[in-house]
């Protein structure tokens, strides 16, 4: 087990390296470097920037140097100083912007992940055990719809429906008076009151996906002979279910649990944009639209790194949960 964990850890290093290169390419992709864009912006808004300031920025980000030096400067700043560069649209360090939004993103995502798991898995189990019952048909149908409608469309439809039918305008996380207010108990309570709608909208497609996988996996397991044997030996139905088939059926979902890590960081991007949530997703979109590439690049770098780490965690979890993987048998038939 320890050897396995260490091996997987080491394999992370080259992947992180490649990721940083890809992100750097993305940062460099838009035509013209960002400093010219920045100076243009300042000029159009009437602010004059001094020659020294420009020279300082050029030096800090090594803009006069060739590509590979620029890359090294960029990555060195990140690793050694935790400096992800500057957002030129907001005219602030990237780190500050991320800090502001990361907590809310995490709260929303955590809530929805709990929903996705508890509801998705339990309905999946129910559907599989009571296959072809009325509720199974209903849930399967809901599952199909949930998988097929993208989050942003669902958000749009629900907001529209709530607005026209009930005259409720779902937008943002806070009531008007709390938007710019400092944190207080009242603000938290206000948020908790309003957080459910976005959480449910964001969770729907995940729930649908989990229902489908859980149902399919469990059905496959229930047909196997060991289940019949256990039943023949007189094991109670609940015990039988929990002890073996569910443990196996949940495996493929454990292997994707790592992906929730970047999701916690970013929040569902597109749905958040529609719902006007102050999370990382909309920040990324605005950065990309404005070609604010240091901000966008940093966000993608963090998300990518979190995905890689998340995959690692899933693999370790999987190895812990499933002895067949732990003992080096990688599913050979």
């Amino acid at each position: 087990m320890a050897g396995y964990v260490i091996r997987r850890f080491l394999s992370l290093i080259p992947l992180l390296f490649i990721l940083s290169i890809v992100v750097f390419i993305i940062i460099e992709l838009p035509p013209g470097d960002f400093l010219t864009v920045y100076i243009e912006q300042l000029k159009s808004s009437g602010v004059l920037i001094s020659e020294e300031e420009i020279a300082r920025l050029v030096k800090q980000y090594a803009l006069d140097k060739p590509l590979h030096i620029r890359y090294i400067t960029w990555i060195k700043n990140i690793i050694l100083h935790g400096d992800f560069g500057r957002s030129f649209r907001w005219n602030r360090p990237v780190v500050e912007l991320i800090k502001e939004r990361v907590a809310l993103s995490a709260v929303i995502s955590l809530f929805s992940i709990v929903f996705v798991w508890i509801i998705g898995v339990s309905i999946g189990i129910y559907s599989a055990v009571k296959q072809y019952s009325m509720f199974d048909y209903i849930f399967t149908f809901i599952g199909f719809i949930g998988v097929s409608i993208p989050g942003f469309l669902l958000a749009l439809l629900i907001i529209w429906f709530a607005y026209t039918k009930f005259d409720i305008y779902i937008s943002g996380l806070f009531s008007q008076q709390f938007v710019d207010a400092p944190w207080s108990l009242a603000k938290v309570l206000d948020m908790l009151k309003r957080i459910w709608v976005p959480v449910i909208i964001i969770a729907v497609s995940g729930i649908a996906g989990n229902i489908r996988t859980m149902r399919a996996n469990l059905l496959d397991e229930l047909r196997k002979q060991y289940v019949t044997v256990a039943r023949a030996k007189g094991l109670s139905e609940t015990r039988l279910l929990i002890k073996y088939p569910i443990r196996i059926a949940v495996n493929p979902m454990i292997s994707t649990i790592g992906w929730t890590l970047p999701a916690i960081f970013s929040g569902e991007s597109l749905a958040s944009i529609i719902l006007n949530l102050p999370t990382i997703g909309p920040l990324l979109m605005q950065a990309l639209l404005a070609q604010d590439m240091y901000l966008a690049g940093s966000l993608i770098l963090i998300m990518g790194a979190l995905t890689l780490v998340g995959t690692l965690i899933s693999d370790i979890l999987l190895a812990w949960a499933d002895p067949r993987i732990r003992y080096g048998n990688t599913g050979g038939k």
């Binding site: 993305i26 992709l29 838009p30 992906w259 998300m303």
Partner: protein, 377 residues
Amino acid sequence: MMQLFTKLARRKKEEIKDEKIFLASQWQLMWWKFKRHKLAMVSMCILAFLYIIVLFCEFIAPYDPWERFEDYKNAPPQLVRFYSKEEGFRGPFVYGMKQEMDMETFRKVFVEDESKKYAVRLFVRGSKYKLWGLFESDLHLFGSKDGPVFLFGTDELGRDLFSRVIYGARISLTIGLVGVFLSFILGTLLGGISGYFGGTIDEVIQRTIDFLVSIPTIPLWMALSAAIPQDWSVIRTYFAITIILSLVGWGGLARVVRGRLLSLREEDFILAARLTGASEWRIITRHMLPSFASHLIASITLSIPGMILGETSLSFIGLGLRPPAISWGVLLQDAQQVIAVAHYPWRLIPAFFIIVTVLSFNFLGDGLRDAADPYSR
């Protein structure tokens, strides 16, 4: 006695059926199994219908999608009627529209003007177009000579939404196919190389796929399409987006191909073919390819909706195709403001088409996947 006869007859029938199964080719078996999946059949018909629309969109759309009807901005959809109060049944027609002030909200709204009736006819001559860039014509599937007909209403600039949805189908529906085609070529080629040669090449390709799969899709799509220059022509952006979509998507396909090739190599019938002296080429094309082509088709079908949604989402948030290009995502941009949607709910019509298309592809893919293995269950 009679009973015995019917029994015998039934048995005979079953035998014939069995024989048919023994003689049927794999594709025939798949077709029989596929036909039993009713939802998949319906979905296939819906998709066929949609793609026929794509082929003839200039003909089916009554107007040029960029043509502005200055007097009809934000006009609601018109209902095609067959009965009128005065005359009873007459051919299909729509009432004309006039603008009135809503006394409660002080907004201008369109109301039906029952004094004006525009007869809707099939095969009406209208704006000129060139079908497939070859045949010049001005014939449209339907329309009215008396006044404009807007089945889905109009947008802010007075453009006919029905025509725009039809034209939008062309980009939205083909982008998935082209994207899947590209990732199919990349996937089968690299997956095939990976599975066939093994060793270092296999390792390199597999790690690349691991890496590609590990990057969150939507942010990557967003980042790459943000790099598309704003001044590119519609066609160039279209292809750039397809390439971006397929760059991310080929990894999964390559894995399927490789896994299948590896497990097929061990199968008895491949060994048998090898023993009878078939060449490598013949084994690959005659024995291996047909036995996993069906799985490939199923997984390809299932990856199309992802691409369609990718294009839609990107265009919706303004990172994909931009007007004057028309795609369903571009059309949905008008629906971003909920207040606007509340006043003009017909702006959500493209969403309905997106959902139907994606659902159909999912059902079709499900049916194909079940049918791909005719011997199961």
